[in-house]
C-alpha cells in the first residue's frame, strides 16, 4: 500500500561513466515531470576521470536543468529540484598518479610494503595511470574510492577553508542531517566497469563512516537506507591491440565485461557487506547478443571512424557512450526506491537482508524484445485511473521530445522564433535569452543535437533518440508503443508522428489552434510558457495503437 514519505530526503550517487549516463536518464525523466513527489534530490556526481565526456555531459545537463528549474519550477515539467555535489578524486598529479604512490609503498619498509601489496594486487594494477579511472580493476578501485572518501572528509573536518570548498562534505552533511527523519541513498554505476563497479560496494560503508566523522560519532545511521542498481554488461568496444596492452599494462577490455558482471553478481548476492547495508538492489541485465557495439555506433551515428580505429577508449574526453534503455530502467529503479508509492518506510525497516528486484520485458513471436511504457514505470495501484502512471509518463516523455523536434523543424532550433509567433498570436511570454539558451540545450540533448550551425537540418541523436537506436532487439517495430519513424534522427519534421491528430498537412495550424484553445490569450513568464506548451502537447492523443491495446 502506498505511503507518503513525509520528511524523507533523497540522495543519488552516480559513479563512473555508466553511472553518469544513468544520471542523465534520471535528469531527463525529472525534466518530464516523473519525480514530482520527490521534491528535492541531492546528487553526488563521482568520477575518477575529470575529463570523462559522459561526466561532462551529465554536469552540463544538470547545470541546464538547475537553470531551467529556477525559472520554471512547475507542476508538470521540471518539478523536482536536483541539487548537484561533485567529488572527483584527483589522480592527475604526479603525487597521486598510481596505487604505489598513493599508498606510499616506498616509505618505511618498502620491501615488506610491496610484498603485502602484491598479495592483493598484480604489479600492473599497482602501476597503471589512474587518471582515466580504475579500468575495470574493481578490487583496487573499491580500496581507493573508500579511502578517497574518508580522506576528503577528514581534511574537511580539520580545515575550514578546505571544508568550504568540499562538495562531498556538504553532501555528507546533508545525509547526516537527514538521518533525523529519513534518508534514502541510491547508487548508480555498472557492475562490470571501473569506477562505478568499484564504488557501489563501498558507498554505504564510506558514507556511513563519513557521517560519523562529520558528526563526531553522534549518529546512529538507523534511518539511512541504501539502494542501488547492479547493471550487467550491455555494450562492447574494440578490444585493445597488443601494443596498447603492452603500453598500458592494464586496460579495459569489453570482452571481459560479461565475466566481470557474473563475478560481481556472485559477490552482491553472497557477500554480507552488501546484504547488511543495501536494503534493495535492482538487477538489470541485457541479452549479450544485443549488446551495443560502441565502435559501430560512433561510426554510424557520429562519424568517428578514424578516431576509434586508432586506439581503444579507456576514458577521457572521448568516452561518450550512447544512452541505453537499461539506464532508463536504472533511473526508474531509483524512483521505485525513493517513492513511497512503491517503497514505504515500514517496508525498508522490515528488510533485514538485501532484497533483489528485477523486471522483465515481453517478447514478440519472433523472440524480439518489446518495450512498452508499462515496462519502464507502472503503478498497479492506479490502473483504474483515467491516466495511469505509465501513460502519464509516456505522454510527458513524448511531449518533451516532440517539442524538441518541433523547434528544430519549424524554427531551425531557435525557440525565440516560436515565442515571436506566439506573441504575434497574442500569447506573450517574457523569457530571458539566457534561460532560453539553457532550455534549448536541454531540449537538444533530449531530442536532437544539431551538427554545427543551426539550420543545416543535420543532427546527432539526442538522449531519447539514442535509446531508440541502441534498442536494437525489436528491429523495425515500435518503441514505447510509438511508430519508429517518430524517432528518426535525420528528420525533425517527424515531431508530429506520435499524434494522429497532427498527422495532416495543416499540423502547424492544428497545434496553434489547440494551444490557443487551451491557453487562450495567455501571457506570463518562462514557467507559464513551458506549462502552456506542455499542456498543449499533452492534450493530443498519442498513437491509436496503444489506445486499442488498452481498450
Amino acid at each position: 500500500m502506498a505511503e507518503s514519505n513525509l520528511g524523507a530526503q533523497y540522495f543519488l550517487v552516480a559513479a563512473g561513466g555508466t553511472g553518469m549516463r544513468c544520471l542523465q536518464s534520471f535528469i531527463n525523466l525529472s525534466a518530464t515531470g516523473l519525480f514530482k513527489d520527490l521534491k528535492t534530490v541531492h546528487i553526488l556526481l563521482m568520477d575518477t576521470d575529470e575529463e570523462n565526456k559522459d561526466k561532462r555531459n551529465a554536469e552540463n545537463l544538470l547545470k541546464s536543468y538547475e537553470q531551467v528549474f529556477k525559472n520554471a519550477e512547475g507542476e508538470t515539467f521540471f518539478n523536482c529540484k536536483l541539487k548537484l555535489y561533485r567529488f572527483v578524486p584527483d589522480y592527475s598529479k604526479d603525487s597521486r598518479r598510481n596505487f604505489i604512490i598513493i599508498s606510499q609503498l616506498e616509505r618505511g619498509d618498502s620491501d615488506t610494503n610491496h610484498k603485502l601489496a602484491n598479495i592483493f594486487f598484480e604489479e600492473g594494477v599497482q602501476q597503471f595511470d589512474l587518471s582515466h579511472g580504475y579500468r575495470a580493476q574493481t578490487h583496487l578501485g573499491s580500496y581507493l574510492m573508500y579511502h578517497a572518501f574518508v580522506e576528503e572528509i577528514r581534511k574537511s573536518v580539520q580545515d575550514n577553508v578546505y571544508q568550504a570548498n568540499s562538495e562531498l562534505y556538504k553532501f555528507i552533511q546533508a545525509v547526516s542531517n537527514a538521518n533525523n527523519t529519513e534518508a534514502r541513498i541510491f547508487a548508480f554505476g555498472s557492475s562490470f566497469g571501473g569506477t562505478g563497479a568499484s564504488s557501489i560496494p563501498v558507498i554505504p560503508r564510506a558514507i556511513s563512516d563519513c557521517t560519523k566523522i562529520v558528526t563526531g560519532g553522534n549518529i546512529s545511521g538507523d534511518k539511512i537506507y541504501y539502494g542501488g542498481v547492479v547493471l550487467s554488461s550491455y555494450f562492447k568496444f574494440k578490444p585493445p591491440s597488443d601494443s596498447e596492452k603492452k603500453k598500458e599494462k592494464v586496460i579495459a577490455n569489453s570482452q571481459f565485461f560479461t565475466h566481470n558482471s557474473a563475478s560481481a553478481l556472485n559477490y552482491y548476492v553472497n557477500d554480507f557487506t552488501i546484504s547488511k547495508t543495501y536494503k534493495k538492489l535492482y538487477l538489470l541485465g541485457w541479452p549479450s547478443k544485443y549488446n551495443v557495439d560502441l565502435d559501430a555506433y560512433k561510426e554510424d551515428e557520429l562519424g568517428k571512424k578514424k578516431e576509434t580505429e586508432v586506439k581503444t577508449i579507456t576514458g577521457g574526453k572521448s568516452q561518450e557512450n550512447p544512452g541505453h534503455v537499461l539506464e532508463l530502467f536504472s533511473a526508474t529503479a531509483a524512483f521505485h526506491f525513493f517513492s513511497g508509492i512503491f517503497t514505504s518506510k515500514s517496508e525498508l525497516e522490515r528488510i533485514s537482508s538485501t532484497q533483489f528486484n528485477y523486471k522483465s520485458m515481453g517478447i514478440d513471436e519472433s523472440g524480439n524484445l518489446i518495450l512498452d511504457p508499462e515496462d519502464v514505470i507502472s503503478n498497479p495501484g492506479d490502473i483504474d485511473k483515467e491516466v495511469p502512471m505509465h501513460e502519464d509518463f509516456r505522454k510527458n516523455l513524448i511531449a518533451f521530445y516532440s517539442f524538441g523536434k518541433m523547434v528544430h523543424a519549424e524554427y531551425k532550433g531557435n525557440m525565440m522564433g516560436l515565442l515571436d509567433d506566439l506573441r504575434l498570436y497574442n500569447s506573450n511570454y517574457d523569457v530571458k535569452p539566457e534561460i532560453l539558451d539553457s532550455f534549448t540545450y536541454f531540449l537538444n540533448y533530449f531530442s536532437l543535437i544539431p551538427k554545427g550551425d543551426e539550420g543545416n537540418a543535420s543532427y546527432y541523436p539526442g538522449w531519447l533518440t539514442q535509446l531508440f537506436i541502441t534498442f536494437k532487439p525489436n528491429g523495425d517495430k515500435d518503441f514505447l508503443s510509438i511508430p519508429k519513424n517518430f524517432f528518426d534522427k535525420k528528420n525533425a519534421e517527424t515531431w508530429t508522428l506520435a499524434y494522429p491528430e497532427l498527422q495532416r498537412k495543416n499540423a502547424r495550424n492544428i497545434f496553434i489552434e489547440r494551444f490557443k484553445k487551451i491557453n487562450k490569450n495567455s501571457s506570463g513568464d518562462f514557467k507559464k510558457f513551458v506549462e502552456d506548451i506542455r499542456s498543449t502537447l499533452y492534450s493530443f492523443k498519442i498513437d491509436s495503437k496503444l489506445a486499442t491495446q488498452e481498450d
Partner: protein, 143 residues
C-alpha cells in the same frame, strides 16, 4: 399616387433592416473566411495575420460597394416600375440624405459584429479573428 411620410419612414426602416442584416451576414461570412486562414509556424516572417486583415478589409469594402451600387439600385429599380417619375424623385430626394448614413451604419454593424464575435465568441470562431484587431499585443499590430 400619393406617398405619406409614414410610407417613406416604413421604406427607410425596411432599407435600414436590409442594410443592417447585410452588415451582419457579411461579418459572419468573413469571420469564417478569416478563421479558415491557417496559423503558421516558421522561422520566417509570418504573413497569416496580414492575410486575415486583408480578408477583413476586403469584406468591409465589398460590403460598401455592394450596398451602394447594387443593393440600393435594386430597391430603386423595383419601385420604379410601380410609380411615376415625379413620385420617384420625391422619394429619392427623401432617401438621398438617408442612404449614406444607413450604409455607414451597416458598415459599423459589420465591424461591430466582427469585433464582438472575435472577442466573445471564441468557442465558435477561435482566436484567429481577434488577430485582425490585435497582434503582437498591439492594435492592428502597430499601436
Amino acid at each position: 399616387m400619393e406617398y405619406s411620410v409614414l410610407d417613406i419612414n416604413a421604406l427607410k426602416i425596411k432599407l435600414l433592416l436590409i442594410l443592417f442584416s447585410l452588415g451582419l451576414i457579411y461579418a459572419i461570412i468573413y469571420l469564417f473566411i478569416v478563421k479558415a486562414i491557417p496559423y503558421n509556424m516558421s522561422w520566417k516572417k509570418q504573413k497569416d495575420v496580414l492575410f486575415r486583415r486583408v480578408a477583413f478589409f476586403t469584406g468591409f469594402i465589398s460590403l460598401f460597394m455592394a450596398e451602394l451600387s447594387y443593393i440600393v439600385q435594386f430597391i430603386v429599380d423595383s419601385w420604379r416600375s410601380r410609380m411615376n417619375e415625379e413620385d420617384l424623385s420625391t422619394i429619392l430626394s427623401s432617401l438621398k440624405s438617408f442612404v449614406l448614413p444607413a450604409t455607414l451604419l451597416s458598415m459599423l454593424t459589420y465591424i461591430l459584429t466582427f469585433w464582438l464575435c472575435a472577442k466573445f465568441l471564441r468557442g465558435l470562431f477561435g482566436y484567429k479573428p481577434w488577430t485582425v484587431f490585435v497582434s503582437n499585443g498591439k492594435k492592428f499590430g502597430l499601436f
